[in-house]
C-alpha cells in the first residue's frame, strides 16, 4: 500500500499546535507543580476557552487540569487523531460529507449531553464528558486527514 503525504509543513505545524494545546491543557500537575492550579499560567491560558470548573475536571498529581474533562477529551483526542492520521489515511474510504456529518453529530451529542445535564434529565460524569469530548476531537482530525494523507491507487 502506498500513501501520499501532502502539505508537510502544515501537518508539522498542526502536530506541534495540537501537542502544545494538549500539554498546556494537562495543567501544572504534569510538571509536578502542586500549587493551586487556578493561579497557574496554564489555567490562565485556557481562561477564555473553558469554564475550568474543578468539579468537572480531572487532576494530575493533586493539581487540577487547566481544562474541564470535556475539553481535555477534545485536545487529547485531537492530538491522538493528528498522530494517527497516516493510519486513517490508509484505511479511510468514506467521502468528505460523511466525516462532516460525523463532526456535526458529535457537536449535537455534546450539546444534548450538556443540556440534558443542565435540565436534570440525567447526570453526566467526567468520564462521559471526556468520551464525548474525545469523539469531537477525533472527528476534527478525521475531517482533516485527507488534506495530509491519501491512499494512492496502483495506477498513481
Amino acid at each position: 500500500m502506498v500513501i501520499e503525504f501532502k502539505n508537510r509543513p502544515l501537518y508539522i505545524l498542526l502536530f506541534i499546535g495540537s501537542l502544545l494545546l494538549f500539554i498546556i491543557a494537562l495543567g501544572p500537575g504534569l510538571f509536578g507543580d502542586i500549587s493551586i492550579s487556578y493561579i497557574s499560567w496554564q489555567f490562565k491560558v485556557f481562561h477564555l476557552l473553558c469554564h475550568q470548573d474543578s468539579a468537572r475536571s480531572f487532576f494530575i498529581n493533586g493539581s487540577q487540569m487547566a481544562t474541564c474533562a470535556r475539553c481535555i477529551g477534545i485536545y487529547g483526542a485531537l492530538f491522538i487523531g493528528v498522530i494517527s492520521m497516516p493510519f486513517w489515511g490508509l484505511i479511510k474510504t468514506l467521502k468528505f460529507r460523511y466525516y462532516f456529518r460525523f463532526l456535526i453529530g458529535t457537536i449535537i451529542l455534546n450539546l444534548i449531553d450538556v443540556f440534558g445535564n443542565l435540565f436534570e434529565i440525567w447526570t453526566n460524569t467526567n468520564v462521559s464528558r471526556l468520551l464525548l469530548g474525545s469523539m469531537f476531537g477525533l472527528s476534527v482530525a478525521l475531517l482533516l486527514t485527507s488534506e495530509f494523507f491519501k491512499k494512492l491507487n496502483k495506477e498513481d
Binding site: L14, L20, S35, V45, H47, L48, C50, H51, F96, F100
Partner: protein
C-alpha cells in the same frame, strides 16, 4: 472555481472574525470580573464568573470558522486549508489584541479601580480557604500585581498563542467545509 491569480485580500474577513471574537472575549473577561466582585469570596475555586464561561465555552474559538466562511462566501472561491489556518490564526491573534486594547482602555480609563478590586477579592478568597501561612504566602506570590503592565502583557501574550492556535484549527475546519471542492 480555481482563481489563484486574482485572489482577493482576506483581511476584511480576518477583521470581521477578529472583531466578533474580540468583543466576545472582552465581554467575557470584563463581565466575569464584575461578576466576581459581586460574589462573596467563599474560598471556592469555581466562581460565579465561571458560570458565564460554562455557557460560552469555546466561543472564542469560532473566529476561524467565521472568517473563512466569510472569505469563501463573499468572494465565491475555494482555497487550501493552509490559507484557512492562516486566516484563522490572524483572526485569533487580532481578536486577542482588540480585546487587550479594549480591556486596557476599560481598566485604565473607564474603571481604573477594577483590577485592584479583583486583586483584593482574590486575596479574600484565598484567606477564606484557611490555608497554612507558608502556602498562603506562596499563593500570594503567584497573584499578579494589579497595577503591573508586565502581568497584562504576559496574560495577553499567552492568550495570543493559544487562541491563535485554536482559531488556526477552526480556520482549517472552516476552509475544509466552506472552501474546498467536493471530493
Amino acid at each position: 472555481m480555481e482563481n489563484e491569480e486574482l485572489k482577493p485580500s482576506y483581511w476584511t474577513s480576518v477583521f470581521i472574525g477578529a472583531i466578533i471574537i474580540g468583543v466576545i472575549i472582552t465581554v467575557l473577561s470584563i463581565g466575569s470580573q464584575y461578576m466576581t466582585l459581586n460574589s462573596e469570596p467563599t474560598g471556592a475555586q469555581f466562581t460565579l464568573a465561571q458560570v458565564l464561561g460554562l455557557v460560552v465555552c469555546l466561543v472564542a474559538a469560532i473566529g476561524g470558522i467565521i472568517s473563512t466562511r466569510h472569505y469563501a462566501k463573499e468572494n465565491d472561491l475555494t482555497f487550501p486549508i493552509g490559507t484557512g489556518a492562516l486566516v484563522g490564526f490572524l483572526t485569533g491573534v487580532i481578536g486577542v489584541v482588540i480585546s487587550g486594547v479594549v480591556s486596557l482602555i476599560w481598566t485604565k480609563i473607564i474603571d481604573p479601580g477594577l483590577n485592584e478590586a479583583v486583586y483584593e477579592w482574590q486575596i479574600r478568597n484565598l484567606e477564606a480557604q484557611n490555608l497554612p501561612d507558608a502556602q498562603m504566602e506562596m499563593m500570594m506570590s503567584f497573584l499578579p500585581d494589579p497595577t503591573s503592565m508586565s502581568a497584562f502583557f504576559m496574560a495577553t501574550g499567552v492568550s495570543l498563542i493559544v487562541i491563535g492556535i485554536v482559531n488556526a484549527l477552526t480556520g482549517m475546519i472552516g476552509a475544509k467545509i466552506f472552501a474546498s471542492e467536493e471530493e
